[in-house]
């Protein structure tokens, strides 16, 4: 279930210290419910250092919840979330805060703070968690803006003045400001035109190449899957599964995802609508 060798990690050699565990984040028999509504049932998933794991699946199948659990933004109803082999719940608040800074999160709608301008949004993590002088923060913020292809003058704009693609880029710049080891991308290309989607996909790849981060990408966009995935995991909505069926219906390489004969996966990756219209 947790095969990790793939074309990308084989072709790009990594140089991590031998003492650092290969698995950076892990869900161990995790279930999660919102009130009486179960979303995830007994999920086990490992994310390995340096890989790009893409989570796919229908809307409402629990992809975003899975990433939030992996990022420690949600507590599982049962089971364990582990970072580098140690349960998240065993960390105290100081450790949790420190370790969380190693994660960067690009939210679905970018989640930029409305009350701040772009500069303040990107500087937020640095100002809250470090004692860096303002001149250094300024330098980092403009570096990140340029890294995502935006000019310095964007720093003065409010989030409401930005297009969807620019918001995603600023969200990415904000997530990268703390130089994270693991990047989470929640539907990074949703709502964007094909050109901007391509730009965001390139930024994901560039971030991966430049920083050698571990990436977890939630998407419905098969172009993104083809472009960035080392490993693909498909979740299926609990409501469509029998009680004993596993919720992870596919795990493998991108090539395998497109070649599989499992009808649930094949329908999703090829965008077949034959039965969905009647649901």
């Amino acid at each position: 279930m947790t095969t990790t060798l793939n074309r990308k990690t084989e072709s790009v050699p990594r140089s991590f210290p031998a003492a650092v565990p290969a698995v950076t984040a892990e869900l161990s028999n995790v279930s999660h419910s919102f009130g009486h509504q179960p979303v995830l049932r007994n999920i086990s998933l490992q994310v390995c250092r340096g890989e790009t794991l893409v989570l796919i699946g229908e809307s409402g199948c629990g992809k975003s919840v899975t990433t939030k659990l992996l990022a420690g933004l949600l507590q599982p109803t049962s089971g364990d979330v582990l970072w580098e082999g140690r349960p998240v719940r065993s960390r105290n608040s100081t450790e949790m805060r420190r370790d969380r800074l190693r994660l960067g999160y690009l939210f679905q709608g970018a989640a930029l703070f409305d009350s701040m301008n772009v500069f303040e949004n990107i500087a937020f993590g640095l100002r809250e968690n470090t004692k860096m002088p303002e001149s250094q923060i300024r330098e980092i913020v403009f570096d990140r803006l340029r890294e995502v292809g935006l000019v310095d003058s964007v720093g003065d704009k409010r989030p409401s003045d930005l297009s969807g693609g620019m918001k995603k880029r600023v969200g990415l710049a904000r997530a990268l400001a703390m130089s994270p080891d693991i990047m989470f991308y929640d539907e990074p290309t949703t709502g964007l035109d094909p050109i901007m989607s391509g730009v965001i996909n390139e930024l994901i790849l560039q971030t991966q190449m430049r920083r050698q981060v571990t990436s977890i990408v939630v998407t419905h966009d098969m172009t993104t899957v083809r472009r960035v995935a080392d490993r693909v995991v498909m979740l299926y909505p609990l409501g469509k599964l029998a009680s004993e069926e596993p919720q992870i219906v596919f795990e493998g390489s991108c090539h395998e995802a497109f070649a599989t004969e499992d009808v649930r996966v094949a329908r999703f990756v090829r965008g077949s609508t034959s039965t969905q219209l009647t649901e």
């Binding site: 507590q75 805060r97 989640a111």
Partner: protein
């Protein structure tokens, strides 16, 4: 967010009015428990870390300065209405010269703190709930956590401090303007002597009344901030959820203000009696 099934929910077929009542009671206890836990977390952060001036000042301005016009207008009319309503009754008893004591006593002890608090709940409480609710719906609260900031420390503590610290000033403004409105109607329209208006006011309104009024207003401010932030954090999804959170924040704050007013009025009367018994002057 997640909740274990209550004993009532263990019987899905239960749908009689008694079961409905039971479910409502259980839900209310769960919400109250959650509210107290939320308040406890806030107290912890108040002790650990105060907000930065850059974060606190704009909220102080929004809560305090921008509430002044609405508090002035309502305070003025309440003072004038009090004068209109009490003058005829007092005149029938030939006590119209004592109208200042009635107006000023009522404003300082009750109406000033309650009026300022209701205005704050309506103008600021609903806005806080809607703002935090929108941040929750648009994942900005998750973004705060992801960026290493505690949402309670960053969002709730400054709003709590702003409500707690600014409401005494707003109460004073409401009382001052209300007293002016009452004085204007009494002296300029009904012809009561200005000298008698202030003399009787001074005789019947004590320092104790002013202090208890300010203390009351601080309690109201704290309750409004905690309730509004809690409703925002527990906001449902979408625009409907945000709207409901704003409404619930106002309604719950209003009920809390009235309940606290009753409890604090009882306590202040007992405290006054105790001070008299101990021979401590309260004028």
């Amino acid at each position: 967010m997640s909740a274990s099934a209550s004993p009532i929910d263990a019987h899905p077929s239960a749908s009689t009015p008694i079961h409905g009542l039971g479910r409502m009671v259980v839900d209310s206890i769960v919400v109250l428990g959650d509210l107290f836990t939320f308040g406890w977390t806030l107290c912890g952060w108040l002790l650990i870390r105060l907000p930065r001036a850059r974060v606190l000042w704009p909220i102080l301005y929004e809560v305090g300065v921008r509430s002044v016009p609405v508090v002035c207008v309502t305070g003025l009319f309440i003072g004038m209405v009090l004068a209109v309503q009490t003058y005829d009754t007092l005149k029938q008893m030939h006590f119209e010269s004592q109208i200042g004591s009635v107006i000023n006593g009522t404003l300082v002890k009750e109406l000033g703190p309650v009026l300022a608090a209701v205005m704050l709940a309506g103008r600021v409480g609903s806005a806080i709930a809607a703002q935090i609710g929108t941040m929750k719906v648009s994942e900005q609260i998750d973004a705060l956590s992801a960026l290493g900031a505690d949402p309670v420390a960053f969002l709730v503590v400054p709003r709590f401090l702003a409500c707690f610290l600014m409401i005494p000033a707003l109460t004073m403004v409401a009382e001052g303007v209300g007293i002016f409105g009452g004085w204007f109607v009494s002296t300029q329209i009904y012809g009561v002597s200005s000298h008698l208006f202030w003399t009787y006011s001074d005789r019947f309104v004590t320092a104790f009344d002013v202090i208890t009024g300010v203390f009351k207003s601080m309690s109201f401010g704290a309750a409004i901030a905690i309730i509004a932030c809690h409703r925002g954090f527990r906001c449902g999804s979408g625009a409907e959820g945000v709207g409901r959170a704003a409404t619930e924040a106002f309604v719950a704050s209003f009920v809390a203000i009235l309940a606290l007013d009753f409890v604090l009025a009882l306590l202040s009367i007992h405290l006054l009696k105790l001070l008299w018994a101990l021979g401590i002057p309260v004028t």
